[in-house]
C-alpha cells in the first residue's frame, strides 16, 4: 500500500491517490468497529501523544479512541492553554517529546504551521488536528468519507460551504479535499468573512445563500464564532441567521435532495435550525461516527512508517506476506 507521506500535516500535501487509499482503509476500520471486540493489535507497543493546545473534547477523544482501537497507547501531554501562564515553548515541548521516544504526536494549536514545526523536529510522525485557520485534514477526510458512503461519487459533485470561510481551517481542508477528488466547490458568506484571493482556488463565491443552496448536492455549514460579531465583521447574529442560516424555512423550500453536513460543534438556531437534526438530509452524526474509523486509518498508515535500519533481514520471504 503506497502512502506518500510521513506525516499528515494537511490535505495540501496529499495526492488524490493518497486520499483514496485513506478512504479505502477507513472502510475496513468501520468494519472493525462493528465487531463485538472492536480492537486490533496492529499498533501494539506504539505510543501516540495528544498535544492539544486548544481545548477540544471531541477531536481529542476521537483520536484517543482511534489509537486505543489499534492497541496503541494514547497519552495526553498536559499543556497550559492560557497565554497568561505561558508554560513551555513549542520547541521545548518538542524536545521533551523527542526525549521520551514516542511513536507519534497529534497536535492541535491556535497557530498555523504548528504541526509543520513539530514535523521538522521530531523523529516520529505528526498528525495535524487543526492548526489555527490553516488546515484540519482529518475532519476533511472524514467529511469526504461521509459523502463517499452517502453519495458514492465525487466527479461533478457540487459542494457548498457556508459561513466564516476566512477563519475556518475546516473550510480550507474541505476545499482542497473535495477539489482533488473532482468535485466543484461553491462558497457562501458575507464578504467580511471571505478570505482574499480564495477564488484562485477554483471556488465560486456567493454572497447570498438562497439560490446557490438549490443548485448544490452537498452543503457543509460552518460554525459561526460569536466573537466575530464583536470584532465588527457583521452587524448581528439575527442578521447573519437570516442571510446565511440553514433555517427551517430554507429547509422547507428544498426541492432536490441535499446532503447537510456540519463539522461541529453547532450553534443551534444560528447557522442551523434544530429541525435539521431530524431531517433525513442530515449526515451530521455520521460525520462523527466516521471520524474514529478515519483516524484509525490515518494512524495505521503513519505508524506503519518504519526506519529502514530496523528492518529484519529477509527470512525466505515468507512471514505471512499473503499478497
Amino acid at each position: 500500500m503506497k502512502f506518500s507521506q510521513k506525516h499528515l500535516l494537511g490535505i495540501a500535501e496529499l495526492s488524490k491517490s493518497d486520499i483514496l487509499t485513506i478512504l479505502d482503509l477507513t472502510e475496513n476500520f468501520r468494519q472493525v468497529l462493528d465487531r463485538p471486540i472492536p480492537i486490533v493489535p496492529a499498533l501494539r507497543g506504539k505510543t501516540i501523544v495528544n498535544l492539544f493546545f486548544e481545548p477540544s473534547t471531541r477531536t481529542a477523544t476521537s483520536f484517543a479512541i482511534a489509537a486505543k482501537r489499534l492497541s496503541a497507547d494514547s497519552v495526553s501531554f498536559a499543556v497550559k492553554s492560557s497565554s497568561v501562564t505561558k508554560g513551555e515553548t513549542l520547541l521545548d515541548t518538542a524536545k521533551n517529546i523527542e526525549a521520551m521516544k514516542v511513536g507519534g504526536v497529534v497536535i492541535r494549536s491556535s497557530y498555523p504551521g504548528a504541526a509543520h514545526f513539530l514535523a521538522q523536529r521530531l523523529d516520529g510522525f505528526v498528525v495535524n488536528a487543526g492548526d489555527g485557520a490553516h488546515e484540519h485534514p482529518t475532519q476533511a477526510l472524514s467529511d469526504v468519507y461521509t459523502i463517499k458512503e452517502h453519495i458514492r461519487k465525487f466527479e461533478g459533485l457540487k459542494v457548498l460551504i457556508v459561513g466564516d470561510i476566512a477563519h475556518s481551517r475546516v473550510a480550507r481542508s474541505d476545499i482542497l479535499a473535495f477539489s482533488k477528488l473532482g468535485a466543484k466547490i461553491a462558497i457562501c458568506g458575507p464578504p467580511t468573512l471571505m478570505p482574499i484571493g480564495i477564488e484562485q482556488t477554483g471556488c465560486e463565491i456567493f454572497y447570498k445563500l438562497d439560490h446557490i443552496l438549490t443548485e448544490v448536492d452537498v452543503v457543509q455549514v460552518l460554525r459561526l464564532q460569536l466573537e466575530r460579531q464583536q470584532a465588527g465583521l457583521f452587524p448581528s447574529i439575527r442578521e447573519y441567521r437570516s442571510l446565511y442560516g440553514l433555517t427551517k424555512e430554507r429547509l422547507a423550500k428544498l426541492k432536490k435532495p441535499l446532503t447537510i453536513m456540519h463539522p461541529g460543534p453547532i450553534n443551534w438556531g444560528v447557522e442551523l435550525d434544530p429541525e435539521v437534526s431530524v431531517s433525513p438530509h442530515s449526515v451530521i452524526l455520521e460525520q462523527v461516527k466516521n471520524g474514529v474509523a478515519l483516524r484509525m486509518a490515518v494512524l495505521y498508515l503513519l505508524a506503519g512508517r518504519i526506519d529502514p535500519s530496523s528492518m529484519r533481514p529477509d527470512s525466505g520471504g515468507e512471514i505471512d506476506t499473503k499478497e
Binding site: 500500500m1 502512502f3 463485538p36 495505521y300 506503519g304 518504519i306 515468507e318 499473503k322
Partner: protein, 180 residues
Amino acid sequence: MNACEIKRTLNRIAAEIKKRNKTIEELVFIGIKRRGATLAQRLAKILSPPPTSPYKRGRSKVGVPVGAIDITLYRDDLQLVAEIPIVRGSEINFDINDKIVILVDDVLFTGRTIRAALAEIVDFGRPKAIQLAVLIDRGHRELPIAADYIGKKIKTKKEDLVDIFVTEEDNKEGVFISRR
C-alpha cells in the same frame, strides 16, 4: 501438485473433517485471504448437503457457512516490513460462538499467519473448537502450531519459494516449488 491432485486432496481432507467431527451442523469454515479463502469455499461446498436436504438449525439452507479473514492487522511483523501491507478486510457474517471453526490456509510454514488468524478469530467470539486445515505443510515452524488436516507434507529449504495457484485468483491451478 497439479489440478487433479489438488481436487483429490481437498476431497480427502473434507472426508477427514467429516469423519472426525461426525456432523457438519456445527461446522463453519474460515479461510485466510486470499487463497486460503478460496480453498475454504471449495471445502465448504464439498461438505454442503445438496439443496434438497433439510437442515435442523435452518440457519443457511444453502450450505456450510464460509467466511474469510485478512490477518494484516494482527501480524506480528507490521513494524518490520518496508511498505504498509494492504488491509483487505474480513468478512465473517455469521456467529462463531460454540461453533467448530475449520480454519483453512494454503501453505503452513512458520506458523505466524495462523497465530495471527487465531488472535483475530477469538475477537469475533468464542468458538467451541478451532481446527486447522492446510493444503501444504512445508515445515520450518517458528511457533508451536500444527495442522489437524494436511493435504501434503513437503520438504523444503527455508529459502525455497512455494507458490499455490488457484483458478479463482490466478487463472491456473497447481502447486510449484522453486529453489533460489
